[in-house]
Amino acid sequence: MLPEFVTRRKRGSGYVPAVLSSGLLLLADSRTPSGGHGHSGGVEALVDRGLIRTVDDLALFLSGRLLAGGAVPASAASAACALASSAPDWSRWDAAVSARTPSAALRAASRAQGSALLRTVALAWPGPDVAALRALSHVHHPLVLGVAAASAGATPTDAAVLALHHLIGGACSAGVRLLGLDPLAVAAAAVAAGRHAEPVAASSADAALLAVAADDPALLPADGSPLHDVLAQLHDTSEATLFAS
């Protein structure tokens, strides 16, 4: 039986955001220490190859990323949020994220950011739910985000939205820093991408709740895009890169 907060939101007909709390705002804020500033979400590899040059390119990239890959972090964060207080075997859910992240470089990037966020989260919400994650030797970022979101009073759908918000924010910030794109225009593109992200978040949360109800991480979505994975591997071994991924 799922807790009430997991099921209370109506999904599929528009996202109803959580009541804003300082904790949730902190988790949404890219200034919160979480290692994110060192990751471009795949943007640097595309910029280096001339595949992103403009704000429009960035917007196109984001819409593609959200549809072909957004469900993996969104559903993992969502599931973690739903599971947070039930002391699950986190290693099974962590392994499911690894299995959905075929690039070793992206697995490392996800774990580095999970570890980074966990440092902050463990101080901000020093309860047993977060402590359970610290028992793992490493943990993927969406799981930390989901558990932190639960600690901040979020629903699983909120956690999915947060995961996609960071996917968008990291890519946008990298576009501004690498290409000198107009940050105001990029902010507008981020808002537009956020609208595209809402149905992805809703469907990811639905899938996550099915997986949680069945206690089966294998039911989590496994969307991906080969180019993103291949470029991440090439980026990882390339010499003059500014971002870790």
Partner: protein, 220 residues
């Protein structure tokens, strides 16, 4: 990069926790001032008596780490490079997590006496968080202009040691060393300043002396 080790070290003991563990010293300052040369000099001077490790934050990923390896100042596995996503100041001040991972991984592997964290070149406002290091050195060079100490900024005013490097260039660039020294003294409230030419004094003696005293104080 030894990513698995970076990942493994995510338990964060706050720096204020106590005297256990190595001294962590940040080395910051503008581009071209001599940060990497100072790190190399410190490693050469101290490696025989202390166990050392270095984290570099150069904007071009492994550039500084490569320099240190090429000059053979430390074994490869005692040097780690952190990529900062175009924001060197963020990585040493606002979001220190990637540097903490690197420092803790080195500490877990080598149990060093001293960890040097070298910032990427930045501007006069870029200083280290004391959540990452115990003490910090800010490196300026004479060629940047003798008005820099007067301009102040947290690097000049608040660093634990201010190093003014390349004093051999002073006559060539029309810099007045005495002006630099006096201006620095005015804003530093008694914190030490060293004027040096690392090219002419590659043993970096005054800085080695300062850092050795810091290591000793931490052990005491």
């Amino acid at each position: 990069m030894h990513r698995d080790d970076l990942m493994a070290a995510h338990t964060h003991a706050p720096l204020a926790a106590g005297p256990a563990g190595p001294l962590r010293v940040g080395i910051g300052g503008p581009v071209g001032g001599g940060k990497t040369a100072l790190v190399a000099a410190l490693c050469r001077a101290l490696r025989d008596e202390l166990s050392l490790a270095v984290v570099t934050n150069d904007i071009y990923t492994e550039e500084d780490a490569e320099f240190l390896r090429r000059h053979g100042v430390l074994p490869d596995d005692r040097i780690r490079a952190v990529r900062t996503g175009c924001c060197p100041h963020t990585a040493i001040r606002d979001d220190i997590t990637a540097n903490l991972d690197a420092v803790e991984a080195l500490e877990a592997r080598h149990n060093p006496d001293l960890v040097l964290v070298e910032s990427g070149g930045d501007n006069l406002t870029a200083t280290f968080s004391y959540g990452l290091v115990h003490a910090q050195i800010f490196v300026l060079d004479v060629a940047g202009g003798d008005k820099v100490p007067r301009k102040g900024g947290p690097g000049v005013t608040r660093s634990d040691l201010l190093v003014i490097n390349k004093i051999d260039l002073a006559p060539l660039v029309g810099a007045d060393l005495e002006v630099m020294r006096v201006d620095a003294e005015k804003v530093r409230e008694g914190r030490p300043t060293v004027l040096v030419s690392l090219r002419e004094q590659p043993d970096a003696a005054p800085i080695v002396e300062w850092i050795t005293a810091q290591v000793r104080a931490r052990r005491a």
